[in-house]
Amino acid sequence: MKDLLIHVEKIVRPVRAIAPRKLRMRRELLAHLQAALEEERGRDGDEVSALARAKVRLGEPSELTRGLQASVPWIERMLLARLPLPAAAERMEKYSGRWWKLDCPMTMTQASILVAGSTMLPFIALMGLVMGLHLDREEAQRLMVERPPTWVILNLGSIAVVLALSMICARWIIAVASSTKPWRSPAAIGPAASIIVLPAASIVLTVACLNRRVATVGELFWSLGMGLLLMLSQAIIGRLVATLRQPYAEWLTLDIAG
């Protein structure tokens, strides 16, 4: 069965089309190939030669890919065309994909949900966190004038927290999407704990820099609560990605290089 899946995937994966269309192509070709294989088995009991004949009957994979590509509406082909990028940009894309865990096989819709969830939600959560704390704004303005380096460090630190939180959220979403029991997975526990702790740590530092005092218990609880809310909302996104990924996972994880 895996041989059939790989053969179909070799034909369909290079086609530039939306994921549901490609899934339909995969399913139809697989059903056809399986029917052809059953017919060939009836002629000759040898499984290997029957499989080879069924594949030949289907046609040359590259030719079929071209045929399927031609059946995709032009607007879809154009929108999904891969633009030639300089080698440096390709490398950067690959590298950042690894950091954000986008190198995990998934469709474009799933990747978009993951990116949107892991970038926008942490930003909203941090905004809510800061607004809920009623930090001393006059003090912040005075700091900006009197101690510009501290102000710059605080801002750079905030950007770093947002970036780190985005990256961690992406990892958490992937961990939830890839496992039915993420709380048992070491790859998931770290990001989940970090999502809860990181906002609280950043608030402790922010209050210390801005107001030159130690964060109160109320502030700590508020920031831990926001972290927990963020972690749970990301888990919902992870489950959504898992649900959307389910029909595609079997195909996308196939290694067709061999």
């Binding site: 034909i11 399913r27 056809h32 289907l58 046609g59 040359e60 030719e63 079929l64 399927l68 059946s71």
Partner: protein, 114 residues
Amino acid sequence: MGNISGDLLRGHLQTLILSALRKGDAHGFEILKRLELGGSGALQLKEGSLYPALYKLEAAGLVKGAWEDGDTPRRGPRRRVYRITTKGGRRLEEARGEFQQFITVIGGILGATV
């Protein structure tokens, strides 16, 4: 009788599919079987090429596809069953007329019996 394949089939495959579907709703493999039977074994079709043609026909509204019921007593992945639409039926009639004219004209030039 020699085999008919590649270039000779190109341009006619969609009409052949419409004609096969005139006999009743069918999935890809069944359409192929009907074509093989109709061609008395002379049609040499790369089976996979059927699907791009079906997708184009469906996009043009000439056929309509639907996944077969999940409770069909059959092993393996679900198949998509196609049926010819009214528009597809009209297109088939037009294509028949065009082809009749083609063989009359070309057959006359070549001196073939039509």
